[in-house]
């Protein structure tokens, strides 16, 4: 919140006198690290049997290619010792597919990835999510009172501490927009996720996803999204540090990988801007 407030004001103030320019900055590239994107998403109303795990490596900051990692052995074991194998169906794609996954809310799963002779493992619980029950739209948001803002409402469970991740995808933005938050100040209330963009116009489709996430993953995503944000190197930012996830290299602890093993129930909502 502090960051929201300060960056917000700083931006308003600076827009009057400051000048932003894309420049060339020479950057070093650290040796490549394995990145495991193991996000098991179970969309409400679907069987959730098809899941993909993606293996890549880090690369130079300005590089336009994401190096994929092939030839790994990947499987997830459920709490009742059922094994789900993930196979690289398209060679050299780095995408490992499973079509028989059986999601169960509250179940703890274990991920195993074996690559280049090293074994990586992680355990995580599948987290439920409430349903999006309502939406609202206003057209007088933003500094100029002319931006469209859409809210997606849901009911927080007052009996427990919950964390949420939202993802908004629109045709006006090539990148999805993520936001991680928890119910700290709104325990048991009707809460909302929000999407606003100055280029949003009537007829645009917003695909809004609400994920139930663990507290550990919430902490991870908060740092990760801050790192991904546009504010690195800004005076309002702590020195950023690479954030480590929950996947541990059991063979060689110091050769850690990046990424996370998460399991979320998802509620998806398609909204057409009025």
């Amino acid at each position: 919140m502090k960051k929201i407030a300060t960056i917000f004001l700083f931006t308003v103030l600076l827009s009057l006198i400051s000048c932003e320019e894309v420049i060339n900055v020479d950057l070093d590239t650290a040796p490549a690290k394995l990145v495991i994107d193991a996000s098991i998403d179970w969309e409400k109303g679907t069987p959730g049997t098809t899941q993909i795990i993606k293996l890549t490596t880090t690369t130079g900051y300005y590089s336009n290619v994401v190096p994929s990692v092939s030839g790994a052995t990947i499987f997830i074991t459920s709490g009742s010792d059922v094994v789900f194998n993930f196979n690289e169906e398209v060679p050299n794609s780095g995408l490992y597919l499973c079509t028989t996954f059986a999601p169960i809310i509250g179940e703890t799963y274990t991920l195993t990835v074996i690559h280049a002779g090293e074994t990586y493992t992680a355990s995580e619980k599948m987290i439920p999510v409430p349903t999006i029950i309502n939406t609202s739209q206003r057209d007088d948001a933003g500094f100029g009172l002319n931006e469209i803002e859409v809210k997606f409402f849901f009911q927080d469970d007052g009996q427990e501490n919950n964390s949420y991740l939202t993802k908004s995808t629109t045709p006006i933005n090539v990148l999805p927009e993520y936001f991680a938050f928890d119910d700290r100040y709104a325990q048991g209330n009707e809460m909302f996720g929000l999407y606003t963009n100055k280029d949003l116009k009537p007829g645009d489709a917003i695909e809004f996803c609400l994920y139930g996430i663990s507290k550990q993953y919430f902490n991870y995503m908060r740092i990760l999204l801050a790192n991904a944000g546009t504010s690195n190197g800004s005076p309002f930012q702590t020195p950023p540090a690479t954030v480590r996830g929950n996947i541990i290299n059991q063979t060689n602890e110091s050769n850690y990988c990046l990424g996370y093993f998460r399991l979320s129930e998802v509620d998806k909502f398609q909204y057409i801007v009025q």
């Binding site: 000048c19 336009n64 740092i223 690195n232």
Partner: protein, 790 residues
């Protein structure tokens, strides 16, 4: 040392020196001849005995000398030196008035502008700036700014352009004690650091202590910026003011009862928002401040002063965002002369800082702040021509409001939430001795005994192994510990207490009238922490007291220096080197959430900091061209090692450069008086770019690119430099009465250097590719302002 012991010690000293030969005391005050404003730090030199003294913060001096004739040389920065002969046959009360230099510019070339280094004084690492010097320096948008001016002194930097706070000898911004008429100012910036809260029109004098800090100051580690407001003209009613691009100012001052008392009231406000209103723009951003001072001489032995300050910044964006913050202070002081030799001052000070925020789109109101009550009794005992004693005591009571959140209305999804209020008491006693030994050796030595009591009412969490932060060896990260329970402390129950002895010593040895070497050592304790993980303070940062988890910060500083005057005081050279070591410096775990966190101890780790450097200040004191070159070579680092072998610490436990480390820092400041009508000023600044952490790679996760990073602050922003110039035009310089005006033209960043305030890395939302983006705040900024007085 207890208070009683201290008093015994003083009595002992007193009786020891009382049996010397027949002596009398001359005492009094030194004022400006025009407005009877008392003058601080005026040097009084007794030619025959070679004794010297300076006036204190209230313009008072006292000197005890053998019976007989004495010649006094009274000199002060910006004033003509006065010579006075006195015959001392009994205790004498003698008040002096000094004439300002520029009042007779046409007749005499300034030769007595004594900016020379105080060769024989033990005091070191102290910079004084006259308000005239500050006003002649070119500034951004024509706003005269005390805090920006001190950045041109050696050892003083800030995190970057347009950022608040300042860093002294590698200390963080919260380690500066900023005093306005003895009251603590908790946030010294307007508009996030673009301007300071000090209206230069209302300021009389300022002094910056970077090291060898006297025992009368305490509570902050790195520096003391002591700023005094004017008392107001005792001779007649006058007004002055100015019209600038950003703000306008107006000051009124005059006698209350002629010669007995005076008042001063000054206001300043920005008015850009008025244009927004005219343009029917609902957004608003402005600041204002109000300075007041009343002084009254009850009689020869008693003076009363009342000082006040009130300032606010206000931002409004539509109706959805409403932000207000600022300081207020009120200080009532009573000067009492017990005798010609014993001066006392009793102050009752109130100071607060308020921050309020209303976010309509999230639906809440937030406010936080700090309130501080300070009772202070200080004595100055002018024992003999060789020894002066300062001693006193004070007690500060703090009331912290770390924050509360309220829903804006019933429809808000936010619940009421109030963080625990915190209370603390900080008493201290001190004694400081200024002593001359022979003609060549001076020594100041003192001791401060500070105490701190963290008080209830509050629940304090308990943790397993007393560790509020735990190391998750599985994920290799630090995490908040879950409290195992809590202890309740009732109102005024002591939650934690600390006490520290803080020795201070400074000494000088002069080879002759023009050359000396000095050395100093000081230990300081700081019981308050500014909870902020950014590189420079923001208005929302929260002050928090030490408790059973956050230990007081401790500093040891050593400094040595060489001082020389050349060519009959035309030039001075000051070279100092310092080393400082800080214990219990807070560092924040990755992803620490600091705002609205009721258990800050769960996200901080304790580390160390150190700084060392070399400062060179070369000044030309006289002539049409005067000014200085200041260069600092320094390094500032901090380290937070792991508590056990498994823990990584912050930054893998390695020392890393702080965000305000500046290896090289050069300032060249010059003023040139062409003639009576035209004066010119210029500043050139060159600094190593701010340390930053650039990415050393990236990876894709969930459809977006995430930069990856190596160790902290291993990169630097590009070299920072700019040249600023100003010209002051006085149409009728010889006019001394009625309306007198002057125009100040300035250009900031003359050659349009695009200095990087930050370099950010982002994924372009249109193309999806990664790029580096430089933000520059100021290009070439011309400005004009008009000042007047009558």
């Amino acid at each position: 040392m207890t208070k009683k012991n201290a008093l015994n010690f003083i009595i002992l000293l007193t009786s020891f020196f009382a049996f010397c030969q027949e002596k009398y005391t001359i005492s009094g005050t030194v004022t400006d001849n025009k407005n009877k404003e008392t003058l601080i730090g005026v040097s009084i030199y007794f030619v025959e005995t070679k004794a010297s003294t300076t006036t204190n913060e209230y313009g008072f001096y006292s000197m005890t000398l053998p019976e007989g004739k004495h010649t006094l040389l009274i000199s002060n920065l910006g004033y003509q030196t006065t010579e006075q002969e006195i015959s001392l046959t009994q205790n004498l009360k003698s008040n002096f008035s000094l004439v300002e230099n520029f009042q007779q510019l046409d007749e005499v070339v300034i030769t007595d502008n004594k900016k020379r280094a105080d060769i024989r004084k033990a005091e070191m690492s102290v910079n004084k700036l006259s308000i005239q010097t500050v006003k002649q320096m070119p500034v951004i948008l024509g706003e005269v700014d005390i805090l920006k001016s001190i950045l041109n002194l050696p050892g003083v930097t800030n995190a970057g352009e347009g950022q608040s706070g300042f860093n002294v000898r590698g200390g963080s911004a919260d380690q500066n004690l900023v005093l306005l008429d003895e009251a603590t100012i908790y946030n010294s910036s307007h508009l996030f650091g673009f301007f300071s809260v000090f209206n230069a029109d209302a300021i009389k004098d300022l002094k910056l202590f970077k090291g060898g800090i006297p025992a009368r100051y305490g509570g902050r580690l790195s520096s003391v910026l002591d700023i005094y407001q004017k008392e107001g003209n005792k001779n007649g009613f006058h007004m002055n003011g100015g019209i600038g691009l950003i703000t306008s100012r107006l000051l009124a001052e005059g006698p209350i009862k002629k010669g007995k008392g005076s008042f001063l009231i000054a206001g300043r406000g920005s008015y850009a928002h008025l244009f927004l209103k005219l343009a029917n723009n609902p957004n608003s951003a402005y600041f204002y401040d109000l300075n007041t001072k009343l002084s009254y001489d009850l009689n020869e032995k008693n003076n009363l002063y009342l000082s006040g300050y009130f300032g606010r910044d206000v931002f409004k964006i539509n109706n959805s965002f409403d932000n207000t913050y600022g300081n207020s202070i009120l200080n009532l002081r009573w000067n009492h002369l017990f005798s010609e030799k014993l001066f006392s001052n009793l102050s009752a000070i109130y100071s607060d800082y308020y921050y309020g925020l209303k976010l309509d789109f999230i639906g809440f109101i937030w406010d936080s702040g700090i309130k501080n009550y300070n009772l202070k009794y200080d004595f100055k005992y002018y024992l003999s021509d060789k020894i002066k004693l300062n001693y006193g005591l004070n007690a500060q009571y703090y009331d912290f409001n770390p924050g509360q959140i309220k829903p804006i209305d019933a429809s808000s999804s936010i619940n009421n939430f109030e963080l625990d209020k915190k209370f603390a008491l900080e008493p201290a006693i001190y004694v400081d001795v200024e002593q001359k030994i022979g003609n060549d050796f001076s020594i100041n030595y003192g001791l401060r005994y500070s105490m701190f009591y963290r008080l209830g009412q509050q629940n304090i969490n308990t943790y397993a192994n007393n560790q509020p932060v735990v190391w998750n060896d599985f994920f290799k990260i630090y995490e908040k510990a879950t409290p195992t329970g809590s202890n309740y402390f009732g109102t005024n129950d002591i939650i934690a207490s600390f006490n520290n002895l803080e020795p201070r010593v400074a000494m000088s040895y002069s080879f002759n009238d023009n050359q000396s070497v000095k050395a100093s050592y000081n230990r300081m304790a700081q019981y308050l922490h500014l909870i902020s993980n950014t590189q420079s303070p923001t208005p929302l940062d929260i002050w928090t007291p030490s408790d059973n988890f956050l230990k007081p910060q401790m500093l040891d500083q050593f400094a040595i220096g060489y001082f020389q005057n050349f060519s009959d005081d035309k030039y001075t050279l000051e070279v100092e080197s310092f080393y400082k070591k800080i214990k219990n410096r807070l560092d924040y775990i990755d992803g620490a959430d600091l705002i609205a966190n009721n258990a800050v101890e769960q996200v901080v780790l304790v580390g160390n900091a150190r700084a060392y450097g070399l400062e060179i200040l070369f000044r030309k004191n006289e002539g049409k061209l005067s000014g200085w070159v200041s260069y600092t070579l320094s390094r500032t680092e901090q380290q937070t090692p792991g508590r056990t072998a498994e823990e990584s610490g912050i930054n893998n436990g390695n020392w890393y450069k702080t965000g305000f480390d500046k290896t090289h820092n050069l300032s060249i400041v010059g003023t040139y008086e062409l003639n009576k009508k035209w004066k010119f000023g210029s500043i050139f600044t060159l600094q190593t770019g701010q340390p930053v952490t650039f990415p050393n790679g990236k990876y894709q996760y969930q459809g977006i690119f995430i930069p990856s990073f190596g160790l902290r602050n291993e990169n630097n922003l590009p070299l920072y430099h700019h040249l600023d110039i100003s010209a002051t035009y006085t149409p009728k310089p010889s006019k001394n009465k009625g309306w007198q005006g002057e125009w100040v033209f300035s250009i900031y960043n003359l050659y349009g250097r695009q200095n990087a305030a930050s370099i950010t890395f982002r994924q372009n939302v249109d193309t999806g590719t990664n790029e580096a983006l430089r933000l520059s705040i100021f290009g070439v900024v011309p400005s004009v302002s008009y000042n007047f007085k009558f």
